[in-house]
């Protein structure tokens, strides 16, 4: 069965958003509801801490063992950032899309749906 990554992109909540507990709780409830409804297809997933907690590294020289350059922040500064992901086991893209459309991130931001590579050779 094909597996899809549903990558959740959106603008990060501001400190004001975070202190508005009503709004935040509502979003959490939406995610909880999704988790329940989609339990049969969710193969994994995580919510990520904000991009302010991110560190990007690059190994120079094009080969293993070169100098490690460490930078504060995500790999690219973008308005919308990756906030989390789900792995969805669905029979085809239409099914994956219909589940992804129920992820709260899809109406608060955008969700990218991309198939996972199957190394066993079945696709």
């Amino acid at each position: 069965m094909p597996r899809y990554a549903a990558l959740i992109y959106g603008t990060e909540p501001t400190p004001e958003d975070m202190s508005d507990s009503g709004k935040w709780d509502k979003i959490m409830q939406e995610y909880f509801n999704f988790g329940e409804a989609a339990a049969g297809v969710i193969g994994g997933g995580e919510a990520l801490q904000p991009v302010s907690t991110a560190t990007t590294i690059q190994v120079m020289g094009g080969a293993k063992g070169g100098d490690v350059v460490t930078t504060d922040g995500p790999f690219a500064e973008t308005k919308e950032t990756l906030g989390g992901f789900y792995l969805l086991d669905c029979k085809d893209l239409d099914e994956a899309i219909s589940w992804a459309a129920q992820i709260p991130g899809a109406w608060h931001g955008k969700v990218e749906v991309r198939p996972v590579i199957d190394f066993s050779g079945a696709s």
Binding site: P2, D92, L93, P115
Partner: protein, 256 residues
């Protein structure tokens, strides 16, 4: 099924006539045969290769035995067997081909043949016009796979390089395969959204048919025909105002 060495008009076909006749038959029947093969194999590339192989056999056998009464059914049978051979060879190595092989060797259902055929073409049309493909890809893929136009023809109509069209079509096919875009006619509740890109593609095909360079009269008429044929493939209850305008427009152009 085959008459002995005689064409539809009863006289023995010369080689030149056979080639013209074969081209014409493929133009008329090819889309349906391909749609059926895609349903049977679940793979556009395998289906196209199988059809190509069947045409090669037809060029040989029909010259000897004459054109069959039902060329479409003949091509479908031969192509299906070609696909079967290929999948049998590959089934040992790839689970996906093994699944396709299993589907192909299941006994044919006794459903209404013409209903299945119409469903196959509709299924293919909705797949080529899936919203996960870009509008340019939808049109190029539909023209290639459903209308059977070559990439050169398509490039000429849209005034872009042939390589661009080639890449666009390859990428669209790859996306259908890798993202598992399904071959199915959408459910009634999905139709309003899914119909929109189909109508847009049909309209683009039809409009391109009318705006092709003056020297390309054949391509113009063919595309306009295809636009109308697409619309006829859709349920008459779903006909849009554009279709009505398009058919009236075309009738006027033909009369002029």
């Amino acid at each position: 099924m085959a008459r002995q060495g005689r064409g539809a008009s009863g006289h023995r076909l010369q080689r030149g006539e056979l080639i013209d006749s074969l081209d014409e038959i493929i133009r008329i029947e090819g889309g349906q045969v391909l749609a059926t093969l895609i349903r049977l194999t679940g793979d556009m590339d395998i289906a196209e290769d199988a059809l190509h192989d069947a045409v090669v056999v037809a060029a040989d056998v029909w010259r000897r035995d004459g054109t069959p009464d039902k060329p479409g059914a003949w091509l479908t049978t031969v192509a299906r067997n070609k696909a079967l051979d290929r999948l049998r060879r590959e089934a040992k190595r790839h689970p996906k081909e093994a699944e396709a092989f299993r589907l192909l060797t299941e006994p044919a259902d006794s459903g209404d043949a013409s209903g299945d055929n119409r469903d196959d073409r509709l299924r293919l049309l909705f797949t080529c016009c899936h919203p996960a493909l870009s509008p340019e890809s939808q049109v190029a893929l539909s023209l290639r796979v459903i209308c059977g136009l070559t990439t050169i023809d398509i490039a000429r109509v849209f005034l872009v390089p042939e390589a661009t069209i080639g890449q666009r079509i390859s990428r669209a096919k790859a996306k259908i395969a890798k993202a598992h875009i399904p071959y199915r006619v959408p459910e009634p509740h999905e139709l309003p959204d899914r119909l929109r890109p189909v109508l847009a593609t049909v309209y683009a095909v039809f409009t391109a048919g009318h705006h092709a360079p003056v020297g390309e009269l054949d391509a113009r008429v063919d595309l306009a025909d295809e636009g109308i044929r697409f619309m006829r493939a859709l349920d008459p209850g779903l006909r849009s105002g554009r279709y009505a305008r398009a058919t009236r427009y075309r009738s006027c152009r033909i009369a002029a």
